[in-house]
């Protein structure tokens, strides 16, 4: 068997294992879904009037704020899902079965690839679920062309892939599930510090660089542009560059951690 087909076969076996885990124990995934949905409902129905007054120079109604909010919430959903990835990778590494995998003649990277692909699929499923809630409360993206929809989907997948590889690395360096969930906290905090809820130019001047120079803001702006027709500008390239950079970094970090001797 060639090494590529060996890699594909073992990775798909590992993917099946991870999907089986997710199906048997869905509570972790569902818990992580709760946060973005709560945020969405909270910001629309509780803070909605004040927030919508703050964008578009006043005058904007609640549906305008829903439109502003949803792209950020969708990316936040991905951030939340990969916290689960970090926790489950860290849990998995404490299992004896990983030691067994290491002593078997299987493709070395398949264990991690199985986690990554499984987690990206879960992220996409979560985004679809949260997106359905958004549509139910009035989010519409009627102006987007099929091509823009496709690009938006591609961006979400790429973003999920990048964050997942980073989360896998975080899971590998964490000695236990609690540490993993703490280490992965930036995945939840960064969207709160981005342009997800309010435009960057409405933030205090000293804070604006923090919101601007991080992966969520360009990704959110790009998604907003694709779905709602706002100005994308440089954000498209910035978002893709962030995603590729994080994915490559996460990949090399994770594989080097996994390949080193277990402690």
């Amino acid at each position: 068997m060639s090494s590529l087909s060996l890699a594909l076969r073992d990775s798909s076996t590992m993917l099946r294992r991870n999907l089986l885990h997710a199906r048997r124990y869905p509570s972790l995934t569902l818990n992580l879904l709760l946060t973005p949905i709560m945020m969405l409902l909270l910001f629309v129905y509780v803070f909605g009037d004040v927030m919508s007054a703050g964008i578009g120079g006043g005058g904007a109604d609640r549906s305008a704020y829903i439109a502003y909010l949803v792209p950020g919430i969708l990316l936040m959903t991905i951030g939340g899902t990969v916290v689960g990835t970090a926790v489950s990778v860290s849990n998995d590494m404490t299992e004896g079965i990983i030691a067994r995998f290491r002593t078997m003649a299987i493709h070395r990277g398949s264990v991690l690839v199985g986690h990554v692909v499984g987690s990206v699929l879960q992220s996409i499923a979560s985004v679809v679920l949260v997106g359905a809630v958004a549509v139910a409360i009035g989010f519409r993206s009627t102006d987007a062309t099929a091509l823009e929809w496709l690009a938006a989907f591609g961006l979400l997948v790429l973003f999920a892939l990048a964050l997942t590889w980073i989360a896998v690395g975080m899971g590998l360096v964490s000695p236990n599930a609690e540490a993993a969930s703490n280490n992965a906290l930036p995945m939840i905090l960064l969207p709160l510090l981005s342009s997800a809820f309010v435009p960057i130019d409405s933030m205090p001047g000293w804070f604006q660089p923090i919101a601007e120079y991080q992966p969520f803001t360009p990704a959110i702006e790009t998604l907003r542009g694709l779905l709602l027709g706002t100005e994308i500008g440089n954000n498209g390239w910035l978002a893709v560059a962030w995603c590729l950079g994080l994915a490559v970094l996460g990949y090399f970090w994770s594989t080097s951690k996994f390949n080193s001797d277990p402690k």
């Binding site: 076996t13 089986l20 030691a99 002593t103 003649a105 001797d261």
Partner: protein, 332 residues
């Protein structure tokens, strides 16, 4: 002291190929030396037991030989492949059952087995057949559809070994296979290991139980503080240490005193009224002891003959095992 049962497997002749060999294997963690130059030579088709107290380096040895960790120095060949330069060659030939359960607790026993079949690239049909066979052989058919996390310790260990056997490995590493098992599960495990050997598999076993090594192994190496303290068959090891004696127990203090003064070479244990006389246990030696007792007209309430066993060997070789800074067994 344990009865001696001859190992059930045949001893391999000099012409049989080598399954495992190491030269000067070393490993340290920080400034703590775990393995300090291990040389091993294990013929194919035999059972080898690495015996030692906690922290002696047994698990580290298995981890190096099974390619889980790398040695700092030395050479190791398993199934003709160097563990450092050809780990995948080693991995294809071995099966490993570690000290800690290597089953996926979140999925069922059957799913664990099918996972192994997939990773060994068996066809779907072949995978199902092997899974059903092994589950039946290890008495797990009834529990096959239950999550492995709900299994008892003995069941988990059986599933663990069943998973190890899926790829039909020629060399099997068993790291403390019976630690933590109740006596019945322990004897079941011994039976399983004997069956493996009768199929011609080489078994590398670690244990801290002397009777286990005595029962199963063709050759035994005693590992202490990262070094092989002694190596040989159970019989050879037993000959290394003196320890044979005859023990006489009395209930009457007067008879005890009379016997003690008649048998001058005996070691006295006044509080238990027993005498211990060095002896190889031969008929002639026993008769002379009995003659001495008859001569002073005393009768012992109990006479027992002790031949040296692995306990004597073990304690003689690992005498410093009680030092305060005894290292802990390396956890994976």
């Amino acid at each position: 002291m344990g009865s001696l049962v001859m190992p059930t497997s045949k001893l391999s002749g000099p012409q049989s190929p080598t399954a495992v060999s190491t030269i000067g294997l070393r490993k340290s963690y920080g400034d703590k030396t775990v393995l300090d130059g291990i040389d091993l030579h294990i013929p194919a088709g035999s059972v080898f037991a690495l015996l030692g107290p906690n922290g002696a380096g047994k698990t580290t040895t298995v981890q190096i030989l099974s390619t889980l960790i790398t040695a700092d120095a030395g050479q190791a060949q398993v199934a003709g492949h160097d563990v450092a330069t050809s780990p995948d060659g080693v991995r294809a030939a071995i099966g490993v059952t570690g000290q800690f359960s290597a089953v996926d607790g979140l999925i069922t026993g059957e799913e664990n087995m099918l996972l192994m079949a997939d990773l060994h690239h068996l066809s779907k049909r072949e995978g199902r057949r092997v899974t059903a066979d092994l589950l039946a052989r290890f008495d797990l058919t009834e529990a096959a559809k239950k999550p492995a996390s709900t299994y008892s310790g003995g069941m988990k260990r059986r599933l663990d070994i069943a998973m190890t056997l899926v790829g039909d490995p020629r060399i099997i590493f068993l790291d403390e296979p019976t630690t933590g098992l109740d006596p019945r599960s322990r004897h079941n495990m011994w039976q399983i290991i004997r069956e493996l050997v009768s199929d011609g598999v080489t078994v590398f076993l670690t244990t801290q139980y002397l009777d286990e090594a005595d029962e199963l192994a063709d050759r035994i190496a005693v590992l202490n503080n990262g070094k092989i303290a002694a190596e040989g068959t159970a019989g050879e090891l037993k000959r290394l240490v003196p320890g044979g004696h005859v023990r006489l127990r009395f209930t009457d203090p007067a008879a005890y005193q009379a016997a003690a003064s008649a048998l001058r070479e005996a070691t006295r244990h006044d509080e238990s009224l027993t005498l211990q006389i060095p002896s190889g246990g031969s008929q002639r030696e026993l008769r002379s002891i009995l003659d001495w007792l008859d001569a002073v007209d005393v009768e012992a309430d109990e006479l027992t003959v002790h031949t040296p066993d692995l306990d004597d060997v073990f304690f003689a070789l690992t005498g410093d095992a009680g030092t305060p800074e005894q290292p802990k067994e390396m956890a994976r």
